[in-house]
């Protein structure tokens, strides 16, 4: 007991100290001239350019714009993904009709179809939301289907023996049984959404975190680029915590390590 408490303190301290010391080494190298601050900047310089961006509200505005795109695209991809994935998992007919198309189009990098999406939906919000939605959709549909297919057969026997209707089966076995895998799909989809929002904003946008990065490149404002990267890191972290909390609430029965 005492020993595990001791090692807990050690591991916690280490997890804080190690990134801190990396920052210190970075700063020191920048001051001494070991790293080229024109390309890699330094922690203090980045912090200095963070303040005006925060004060003017520019950072918040661009962050909110990106967040809105991510959330809209996430919902637009996740909801049909869950519904279709459930149907594919339950019905062999739907599965054999739809799965070949999913498998054939899944390997196409979603960025490769962005120009096409831009042509179809124009430069507005729709094209960005659609791009993100597509990326999320594939991950959710595949994982949801796998979730239903991996439910142990014994639970279907129980449902059948207790006289479950089709709807009962959906609500009491297929959906709850697939939920852990659905969440796996949602978490992967959230990562994909962040990749795609940045890519979409780099090519055709007038605001957003991705746009900030591209503008920083144009203006050679390396510090602003790092600020945008920090925002993305925080966004990813916040979204994953949100999904973890949601999972704990929706799947309270899952065994956690």
């Amino acid at each position: 007991m005492a020993k595990s408490l001791h090692s807990n303190v050690v591991t916690n301290t280490l997890s804080v100290l190690s990134p801190l010391s990396l920052l210190l080494v970075w700063e020191a190298c920048a001051r001494v001239g070991f790293v080229d601050t024109r390309l890699l900047s330094s922690p203090t310089q980045i912090f200095q350019s963070l303040l005006p961006l925060l004060g003017s509200g520019e950072l918040l505005y661009n962050t909110l714009v990106s967040m809105q795109r991510v959330l809209l695209g996430f919902v637009a991809g996740a909801v049909p993904g869950i519904l279709l994935g459930m149907s594919m998992g339950i019905s062999p007919l739907v599965r054999s009709a739809v799965e070949p198309m999913i498998q054939a189009t899944y390997p196409i990098p979603k960025l490769a179809i962005m120009p096409l999406i831009l042509l179809i939906f124009g430069l507005g919000e729709t094209s960005k939301v659609f791009t993100i939605g597509i990326g999320v959709f594939y991950l959710v549909v595949i994982n949801t289907m796998a979730g239903v297919l991996h439910i142990e057969k014994i639970y279907m026997d129980v449902a059948k023996n207790f006289g479950a209707s089709r709807l009962d089966f959906y609500l009491t076995v297929a959906f709850p049984g697939a939920l852990p895998m659905i969440f796996t799909g949602l978490k992967l989809g959230m990562g994909m959404a962040l990749i795609l929002v940045v890519a979409a904003e780099m090519s055709a946008a007038k605001a957003g975190v991705g746009w900030m990065i591209w503008r920083a490149y144009d203006m050679f404002a390396i510090e602003q680029m790092f600020v945008a990267l920090i925002v993305l890191s925080v966004l990813g972290y916040v979204f994953s915590i949100f999904l973890d909390i949601l999972e704990r609430w929706v799947v309270p029965w899952k065994q956690r390590a």
Partner: protein, 267 residues
């Protein structure tokens, strides 16, 4: 065929499965009936098709031939509920929701079905765990929930497929005692599969011994031990020993035969 006092009539039942080398006969020429309110035990060597037979009675599989008449649902009560051999309680439901599952599917309002569930949860001694999820329970507790789920559904017939087979001996004895108690209170028609002769004698009114593959009926033995039964006291009864020796005498040759078959197919 069916008369009022019988619950299950099986006549000339056959079941075969398809395999690459042609159809394989799993059950042949099975004829027996189970009386209403009887505790009927089926014993046989492994691979004799006991589980298949029970799954046919449960309506989870279809017979290839012959007649199976299971007295149907009456007055809104379901025909049968099964207790499965393996872990079968839903991990995503609490103990309470698992036990109330059958009642939920029958559209019984929440308050009422929870009251019924409560009664059975108390009977199996899991009141403290009513809101727990199965991963918080031991194997024996999960199997108790599975038994309670079947009883709470109030079926005409209870079908149990080696429900205690995966438990250690101490847990098994405790659960057998609980099962006897609940069953003697409700007196439901029960069909119980086991490979344990001891379990068959302790629980059953009649024991059907099956032959090795393909499964057919070797004989049916009456267990003339008094009820209510005490699982500990019954073992000191001299009839218990006589019946044990009698059943083992019948079963031994079948077990040996199935061993030989296994060796034969392996070589």
């Amino acid at each position: 065929m069916t008369c009022k006092s019988t619950s299950i009539n099986v006549h000339n039942l056959h079941k075969s499965f398809h395999s690459r080398s042609g159809p394989i006969s799993a059950l042949t020429d099975i004829t027996f009936n189970v009386k209403k309110g009887e505790f009927f035990v089926i014993v046989g060597p492994s691979g004799c098709g006991k589980t298949t037979l029970l799954r046919i009675l449960a309506g989870l599989e279809e017979a290839s031939g012959g007649q199976v008449v299971v007295s149907g649902a009456q007055q809104g009560r379901p025909a049968n509920s099964m207790v499965f051999q393996e872990q079968s309680v839903f991990p995503w439901m609490t103990v309470r929701d698992n036990v109330a599952y059958g009642l939920r599917l029958r559209g019984i309002p929440k308050k009422e079905r929870y009251e019924t569930a409560e009664t059975y949860i108390r009977m199996i001694g899991l009141s403290k765990f009513a809101d727990a999820y199965p991963h918080q329970l031991s194997g024996g507790m999960k199997q108790r929930v599975s038994v309670a789920r079947a009883f709470a559904n109030d079926p005409e017939i209870l079908l149990m497929d080696e429900p205690f087979g995966a438990l250690d001996e101490q847990n098994r004895i405790i659960l057998q005692q609980e099962l006897i108690k609940i069953w003697e209170e409700t007196r439901k028609t029960a069909v119980f599969i086991t490979h344990s002769i001891d379990e068959a004698i302790c629980l059953g009114d009649r024991v059907m011994i099956m032959t090795a593959h393909p499964g057919t009926i070797h004989c049916i033995t009456e267990i003339d031990l008094p009820r209510p039964r005490d699982i500990t006291a019954i073992r000191t009864n001299h009839r218990y020993n006589e019946i044990f020796v009698d059943i083992w005498g019948n079963l031994r040759e079948e077990v040996l035969k199935s061993k030989q078959q296994e060796l034969g197919t392996n070589n």
